[in-house]
Symmetry: none
Subunit: 231 residues, 2 copies
């Protein structure tokens, strides 16, 4: 497991070191910088997982760093500043930062906020895969019960057919190669010369057609298949 990497930029060396020591204690990998220019260059060379940036820095200020990074990355950013007026905070938050803390601050609170942001990212990542039913066009699949529905009518699918259709639905509009299907659904590791995929697709098409589903499996010539809405 690779360590989570955090960059800190503050022209006060002491502050950098204090923050760094707390974050390292939590298991993060930390690099410190003391002006806007150098953290930008470092980020370009190796992207970090989070940036903690002071506003007032020589060369390039924190706002500019924030804006520059946001142009090409969605990395979370915490702004740290001695400026504690409302307009300052709003400007920082609006510019693209995820949090704004005013100096002096508690390092423990900073750590808690860092964790909170990473937790938010994880929550969003996992919640998108947690739904047990998924709907595309007029077809509903229930991953738990392995049932497919067209309106109130159940479409009787075998387990292979269900798995394949679920995989295609999860990759809607993206062409999926036969090799990928064999790998992900059959579990073959190497390229096996088989047209088993074509057979399942053939039977799926038949059943979807019989039920008049507004959903079709298109052929991507010389490659594989793609799920699309019927037009």
């Amino acid at each position: 497991m690779k360590k989570t990497l955090i960059y800190i930029a503050d022209d006060e060396v002491n502050i950098c070191n204090i923050i760094k020591s707390f974050l390292v204690k939590e298991g993060y990998e930390v690099e410190t910088f003391h002006d806007g220019q150098s953290i930008l260059e470092a980020f370009e060379h190796r992207a970090a997982d989070m940036l903690i940036i002071d506003i007032m820095m020589p060369m390039v200020d924190g706002y500019s760093v924030c804006a520059a990074v946001r142009k090409q990355s969605s990395v979370p950013i915490i702004i740290v500043s001695a400026k504690d007026t409302e307009p300052d905070k709003i400007a920082g938050l609006t510019l693209g930062s995820d949090d704004y803390m005013t100096k002096p601050f508690s390092p423990m609170e900073l750590v808690a906020r860092v964790k909170s942001i990473f937790r938010r990212i994880e929550l969003d990542k996992s919640s998108s895969h947690r739904t047990s039913t998924i709907q595309v066009a007029d077809v509903v699949l229930d991953a738990e019960t392995k049932q497919a529905w067209h309106g109130n009518l159940e479409i009787p699918l075998t387990s292979m057919e269900f798995s394949l259709l679920l995989y295609l639905i999860n990759n809607k509009d993206r062409p999926v190669s036969r090799g990928e299907l064999l790998d992900k659904i059959w579990g073959f590791e190497n390229e096996v010369e088989t047209r088993a995929t074509d057979d399942v697709v053939k039977r799926l098409r038949k059943k979807l057609g019989d039920f008049g589903a507004q959903l079709k499996i298109e052929t991507v010539w010389g490659f594989g298949f793609k799920l699309a809405n019927k037009n």
Copy 2:
């Protein structure tokens, strides 16, 4: 477009109303509650997109609400509290909230933080299904899906045509010899006497022309081909 729904729970009715008015002004749909019990029931009945919760409330306190909601939902939560000690903040953030603001606070700052959290969620959403596309002039190639686009219209390319066009685009403005193409795309090592390259180029030109793409494959006499913008 459905409005984003935010629930607020605070036993001070005035605070609720102030926050609500600011958020409504920003276009959010807002419901207010005055104890922990009722916001939990409401959430169970209809999930909101964000919760703003006071710590000190009758019946069920904010911490408990936060913990209860987190058990089954990843909805973002902002805790608002008069308690401004470090342990309070850390407890709130650790328990699962996304932000912790101490009273009295600026409503404008709250709005900025609300927006910041939604932006974070959007950033994570969009970055998770980023595509590896290359664009030249008005033509977009997606190497992953092997598709070429002219605006919203897909240009149907065979796999040979796609590979050749991709190679030319990656070497835009540089003349590429037939031998190089045979080597890199067909995989022939020696100089094979074939005009297969010319055939694929011929068909590519036809299709690009049919779609009115601002992109053309120029002939470099006695050598090969070169991709260029149409002028």
